[in-house]
């Protein structure tokens, strides 16, 4: 099956307009397979993506571009119990996860 999600990159463009992630520590809740993560993570200081779907997280780890390794991390975690200390992030992104 051949499908494309957002070939015009409207999500990435609008996100860029709404949030400046440059130099920030970013938490992405509902990162899935990282499709949107790749659009901003190079500017961020550090990106942490969480999701409950292990299969999607596996894809995200495999497809993580080499220039993002070491600053982009993925974890199986629930947004109701975030495994992070207080004030760990300057920005959070809820990706279709509310």
């Amino acid at each position: 099956m051949s499908m494309q999600i957002d070939p015009e990159r409207n999500e990435a463009k609008t996100l860029q307009k709404f949030a400046d992630f440059a130099g920030r520590r970013v938490l992405e809740v509902g990162c899935g397979d990282g499709r949107l993560t790749w659009s901003y993570a190079s500017a961020a200081q550090k990106t942490t993506g969480i999701d409950l779907n292990e299969s999607d997280l596996r894809v995200a780890r495999i497809e993580c571009p080499s220039d993002l390794s070491g600053k982009t991390f993925f974890a199986h975690a629930d947004s109701i119990h975030l495994p992070f200390a207080n004030e760990s992030f300057e920005a959070a992104l809820l990706t279709s996860s509310l």
Binding site: M1, S2, M3, N10, E90, A91, A92, L94
Partner: protein, 139 residues
């Protein structure tokens, strides 16, 4: 959902930014699109779970807004397209991924198939989703 927003509030620094990005329950047109243009074939129908999720998300954001822990700074809607090579690919994806949320009725599918069959060779099936993006600031 409100618990999750409280957790995110805890994990953010003072003045930190929260971006809420999600699809809205809205008209979801299915089109046959080619280089020459697009033709609408019908719409997908939101199932009760999609409507309930949308309402719950809106209520959660309203609640934290009322609590005063986040302040809303900017909001916008914009379209996102999903495209498939063939009507069967489209139907298969809906059944595999969205069967709890969206319904493709037989009449709409038949129209999609019929329009696609007589369209240009580069024609694809395209679904238009309305997205919401909101920027909140931690107080």
């Amino acid at each position: 959902m409100v618990h999750a927003l409280h957790e995110i509030h805890r994990a953010l620094v003072d003045g930190g930014v929260l971006i809420d990005l999600r699809p809205l329950s809205d008209r979801r047109p299915v089109e046959i699109a080619s280089a020459r243009g697009s033709v609408e074939a019908g719409c997908l129908t939101d199932l009760p779970k999609a409507l309930a999720d949308d309402s719950a998300a809106n209520n959660a954001m309203e609640q934290v807004n009322a609590e005063g822990i986040f302040s809303m700074e900017q909001t916008e809607t914009f379209p996102v397209f999903y495209t498939w090579d063939t009507p069967n690919d489209f139907r298969e994806y809906i059944a595999d991924e969205w069967s709890n949320f969206l319904q493709l009725d037989e009449e709409t599918f038949n129209r999609v198939r019929s329009i696609w069959a007589s369209a240009d060779g580069d024609a694809r099936v395209r679904l238009r989703m309305k997205m919401l993006i909101v920027r909140w600031r931690k107080r």
